[in-house]
Symmetry: C3
Subunit: 332 residues, 3 copies
């Protein structure tokens, strides 16, 4: 399904915040202010402590209906949202909307109207097209909140927030940190959202490390320092964020072989030595072991990859409860 995104003038940044400054949708990190990002992180902290408890459930979203609208399959991401919603006591419906609406030629907007009419409260949207969740947020009824679970190459803001949460837990103050993002920046919605978040949080230095073919044009304008050499880029960094290499890229002209890529940009223990002694290593998962990261690093003492997964539940619970709390007050 191809979407066309009119929404002239209505930037995702403006559409996701109510006039009172509260979170209504969660579509992109771009344009959020530091106070709001910090509020999300603080709220997530309160949920994170809950995971250890025997009963990991709070009634905050009891009676609310959350719809997983996944146009692009991702069991992994769907599962984290489903778990977060259920731990808030919401009812969750998984709808493979592409499949479903295609059968009877129902248009996307008609499908949205129908789900709205059933008094659903939240749509979790994942779509291969950039801007899809923004398009949907622009068109939904005022009582609905939309969360972006990944749209094309555009944004994956909940992933970026769980990364910020993980960094803050380990490192505290962002202003003194050097953070390097390594890999396919060009195609990565994760990287785009991370760069926005790191800059809003006033991170000391944000670096991207990649071959030229995997960097967007004018990437410096995003507020990053560019490195093409892994060891130079890793020097003295406090946080290393590895990106997943989409193997499809190999088949195009963008990349040499997996083996050659690992030689140049794969993270090994040896290479990690130039980073700060207490540097942490992150990856949004699932990692291609032996391609962008060695198993020793992925499973090693500096890796916080599994903490990221754990934190993903708390961060999504925080965002879900915040957009629902925003409903009574404001409107899109």
């Amino acid at each position: 399904m191809t979407l066309h995104y009119p929404a002239p003038g209505a930037s995702p940044a403006s559409i996701q915040i109510t006039r009172e400054g509260r979170l209504k949708h969660f579509l992109t990190i771009e344009g959020l202010n530091r106070a709001l990002i910090t509020e999300i992180l603080d709220t997530a902290e309160s949920f994170a402590s809950m995971n250890d408890q025997s009963v990991k459930k709070v009634p905050l979203l009891r009676g609310k209906t959350v719809i997983n609208l996944f146009f692009e399959a991702s069991t992994r991401t769907r599962t984290t949202f489903e778990l977060a919603a259920k731990r808030l006591s919401a009812d969750v419906l998984n709808i493979n909307i592409g499949q479903s609406s295609a059968v009877k030629g129902e248009s996307l907007l008609d499908t949205l109207r129908n789900l709205e009419a059933m008094y659903c409260d939240m749509f979790i949207v994942r779509h291969a097209d950039s801007g899809a969740s923004q398009f949907i947020a622009h068109h939904v009824a005022p009582h609905i909140s939309v969360l972006n679970a990944g749209d094309g190459r555009h944004a994956h803001p909940t992933q970026a927030m769980l990364d910020m949460f993980t960094i803050r837990r380990h490192k505290g103050d962002f202003t003194k940190l050097r953070v390097a993002i390594v890999g396919d920046i060009l195609h990565s919605r994760v990287a785009r959202s991370q760069i926005h978040a790191l800059n809003i949080l006033n991170t000391g230095e944000v670096r991207v490390i990649a071959p030229k073919t995997l960097l967007p044009a004018e990437v410096e304008k995003l507020g990053v320092h560019v490195f093409h050499d892994l060891e130079q880029g890793l020097r003295d960094v406090d946080v290393v964020i590895m990106l997943r290499l989409q193997k499809e890229r190999m088949q195009g002209a963008l990349l040499p072989s997996e083996h050659e890529y690992f030689q140049l940009y794969g993270l090994t223990e040896e290479r990690l030595k130039v980073a700060a002694p207490d540097a942490i290593v992150m990856h949004p998962g699932p990692a291609n072991r032996g391609v962008e990261i060695s198993s020793r690093v992925a499973d090693g003492p500096r890796s916080v990859i599994l903490e990221q997964v754990t934190n993903g539940i708390a961060v999504r619970m925080a965002i879900m409860s915040m957009v629902m709390g925003a409903n009574p007050g404001g409107a899109a």
Copy 2:
């Protein structure tokens, strides 16, 4: 899977009502009395007001297990039943029974026996064969209630009930109304159930408007006035119910092209002018815009199509709670 329906003598009308006159199954509108239909509508009113509340959930079916037995795929209809059940606090299991039982050659009756043995309480049945839900109701254990979510060309009684609910909310007294049903009456289980309901509710005049090829033989015996001309049929009606045109029909000899059909039977604002000034327009969805209805009408001020969707939840909650309440007292 082809079913054979013996059940001689046991009409759906008789099987769905207990000796005490309470609702045990909900298979067809045919044979219900006005008091019971009115009780369903009144019960639905009490649930409809709940939709606006922050917590849209009541514990009426807590601990009950509802099984969606969909032999015919319909995400849309399944979703409304699943939502209704969850808002009554029931546990819901979706079983693609055709797929599942086919794998190991298990017969339908064995599957039913197994689900019964697991102490499930309600089966929501959708099947391409007319009479399927009646067959199942005839064979299930006494503690199970069966709801027909559409069987072949036979009936779609919950759809008809939500339509009656929508009409009553807008128009009140049925005895003074002129209601026109437009489109493929021949193949429509929705139309069949609507005609029964309208007549039981003593509707002033029920009209069907369709080309001869899309009308059942002796359709007048159902208690309707037949029109082949759209404008004649729409004159002074208070309610216009458009049917979905199954595009498959186009490929047979039954219909001309979509374009030609729209010229003759498509509902436009222009044509709607001959109806009563406050006429409402209904459609069971999903609408084929530009085939049976123009987008301007579907999205226009007279359309109550999305209200129908909303009302569908309340009406299904009402029927579900009534058949469960009927369990202690009666038996099929």
Copy 3:
């Protein structure tokens, strides 16, 4: 997905019991002691009485997350586990893990690590390879319990437990019973688990009845009496357990035609006459009527097949609540 099972020295029997002797995982019947099996049966009794109640739900696992990890499709078995978990008030996620992890080349262990990191509490594992659930139990974090829902030809311990529960309800004391298991012993994980359970419970005599091609080598070492003739084997037995004949076996050289098999090993009323007058007939389902069992027997007065299904919920609730209760105290 092919698994390799190292776990040298760590037998399933030892891995599933904590140092304090409580149940941590439930992987196999082999190696359990009689007291523990009896505790499971007794606990199941308390849940069985619940099925009759209007609200079939207890809050024992509220806030717990149960993951159905089915590498091998089985709607039927998945449904029983899902129902059992929901009636304990757990949240249930169904993950087709084979499909899911295959998409992005994620390895099984990475998938497990991720689900653990999301603070899931229990994995229900079904896999075509023998030893899969043991492998997973060996590798999961200490807070996770693993239940084997069938692994290759190895074990199906919850099925065996519901069978023991059904036998005990009808016959009481195992020490005086003659029990015959009939059919494809060679390929049956069910039979293997049943034989272990019957022997641990000190069953008077355990018989297997099958053609030589469907018996494992040295089957006598399992503690059974072997019969190749159905009538000889059924003589004076109190319990007849029929196995499902996998029709795939017919295509190999192992078996003659279905018809011929039924002539030799199919259970009919006539043949059942040599058994004890009050013998009960069991089958794990779904039965191949006319292949291993006649419909008259399957639906007849001696059949307890549907009771087995009912008991399956109570037994799985018992095991689930026991492994969760074991968590605070012990470790794998």
